[in-house]
Amino acid sequence: MNALHDSATMLRRNLRHALRYPALTIATIATPILMLLLFVGVFGNALGTGVGGPSKDDYIGYVAPGIILMAVASGCMVTSVSVCVDMTEGIVSRFRTMPIARSSLLTGHVAGSMIQTLLSTFAVVLVAVAMGFRTNGTVLDWLGAIGLLTMLTFALTWLAVVMGLVAKNPEGASNSPLLVQFLPFLGSAIVPPESMPAGVRWFAEYQPFTPVIETLRGLLMGTPVGRDAWISVAWCAGIAVVSYVLAKRLFNRAR
């Protein structure tokens, strides 16, 4: 109960930060939208042919789920910067000397970031639809997709918290997440792994983003999902649990 009350206070603080300093939020929405414009509007014809569809109208059906996932990834990663900024300032020391739930600072960050990421992902979906993205998913499929994206957001946000706690300064905290943001490119986000060279292809097939993208595609575009759904859930749960445990330990240890 206390933890919930304190986390809610911290969440209000984080949402205020997002409103007062919207540059980060805007960047996380703008990046995937630019990707969408770039990959569909500029490279769409060539990539579409490569992927097997005749035109860029078909390609948007392939790439949009990938870009939506990138929106989630880049949204979550902002958390590492805000956590790191907090840790380098005196306010966290103040919180630590107060009789409040220790983890509330982190849960406040995670809750705030999840709200922001899900909103910015929604914006990206809207742009994709405006650009001609059409799904044949049912309401149930959409609910499944929202559930999957929420799980992924939760897992990646905790991972970002760990990165923020590990980083020595905000610059470092904004660099390490680039790896995670780059991963979807080496998966099935833009082009199918089958088209990649052998080594990269092996990596692309087994890295966590690929099953999530494939599940999302399955739900929204009606392609076969198969085992990918369960592999996705397992990856999300695994990343979330490991990151959460690490984050708590790092936070309690830090200085």
């Binding site: 009350h5 304190d6 206070t9 209000r12 603080r13 205020r16 930060h17 007062r20 300093y21 300032e89 005196g90 306010i91 020391s93 103040r94 919180f95 630590r96 000397t97 107060m98 009789p99 409040i100 200085r255």
Partner: protein, 318 residues
């Protein structure tokens, strides 16, 4: 909440802390009575901040027995946290929030309730002369305003013991006096204050007891007056035009601490007007011309030189 009748707010025995192989606190003992101001005095790196960080549950100690507000620090840190408030050396305010929002956040964390929290925030803003600034983001505040907001945030939970780690370092003289006024007012309200400072005059102004920390140990402990008596640094420095005048003055005043190269003489004195008048009178009586006169009151340097027995100390008259 523990509200024991014992008169000790903070009890520390044998406190030790090392970072790697650098020993910061080497067996610290101290007692702070309830409702008093205790000042821990020391140069940079003496271990003042480390002491505050340990006593305020921020970092752990390697060894030692510590009780704060009757709670054992090692076994009941939550109990300690319920009783204390901390204003650290580096401002612990949220720059993106306004002053008022910062205070309301603290009120929420202390479970004051919505209406009571807002009332308390507005009262504190009024009391610290921040009512106008309360609507602005704290990032735009001056150093003095930030420090005041910081202290207001510490006070909103009604702590019984307050740790102030160098609360006036970097403040201009006016903000400094304002801060002193606020601290005095707190103590009148029954709060215990644990204050660290580099400034002897600050300890002199505020503290009931002063302890001097050097190299992780207390080298002196007493009232400000007791401490100053340990410091033989107060003197008047006279400079003469030539060696003859210096010789004459040294004979007339019977002082041994002379510097033939600089043509100066150090005369022990409290630097008061009466003492100066008497000193100049004696020089006049012997028709000795003084080129330059300067008064040196004891400062922290003198305290440390005196207490740690470093070479400079030998020059001071016993």
């Amino acid at each position: 909440m523990t509200n024991s009748v014992e008169q000790t707010a903070i009890h520390v025995a044998g406190l030790r802390k090392a970072f790697g192989d650098k020993v910061v606190l080497d067996g610290l003992d101290l007692d702070v009575r309830r409702g008093t101001v205790f000042s821990l005095l020391g140069p940079n790196g003496a271990g003042k901040t480390t002491t505050v960080q340990i006593l305020s549950t921020l970092i752990g100690a390697d060894a030692g027995d510590v009780r704060v507000a009757g709670c054992d620090l090692a076994r009941d840190p939550e109990g300690v946290r319920r009783a204390i408030g901390v204003t650290g050396q580096y401002s612990a305010v949220d720059g993106l929030l306004t002053g008022r929002e910062n205070l309301i956040m603290m009120a929420d964390l202390h479970r004051l309730g919505r209406a009571a929290g807002r009332r308390a925030a507005d009262e504190l803003l009024e009391r610290f002369d921040l009512a106008e600034a309360g609507r602005k983001q704290a990032a735009a505040y001056s150093g003095g305003m930030r420090r005041k907001l910081d202290l207001a945030m510490t006070l909103i939970g009604g702590p019984r013991i307050i740790f102030l780690d160098e609360p006036t370092t970097g403040l201009d003289p006016r903000s400094r006096r304002t801060m002193w006024g606020i601290i005095r007012e707190l103590v009148r309200g029954g709060v215990t204050v644990f204050l660290t400072t580099q400034y002897l005059d600050e300890a002199d102004q505020l503290a009931d007891r002063v302890a001097v920390l050097d190299g992780g140990r207390l080298v002196a402990d007493g009232t400000p007056d007791e401490l100053k008596r340990l410091v033989p640094g107060g003197h008047v420095r006279l400079r003469f035009a030539d060696l003859a005048s210096l010789d004459a003055a040294a004979r007339a005043l019977g002082t041994r601490t002379r510097d033939d190269e600089a043509l100066t003489l150090q005369v022990p004195s409290d630097g008061g007007v009466r003492a100066l008048r008497e000193l100049l009178g004696r020089l006049d009586a012997h028709s000795i011309e003084v080129d330059e006169l300067s008064v040196h009151t004891p400062d922290l340097d003198d305290v440390f030189l005196a207490l740690t027995g470093r070479p400079e100390n030998e020059a001071a008259p016993a």
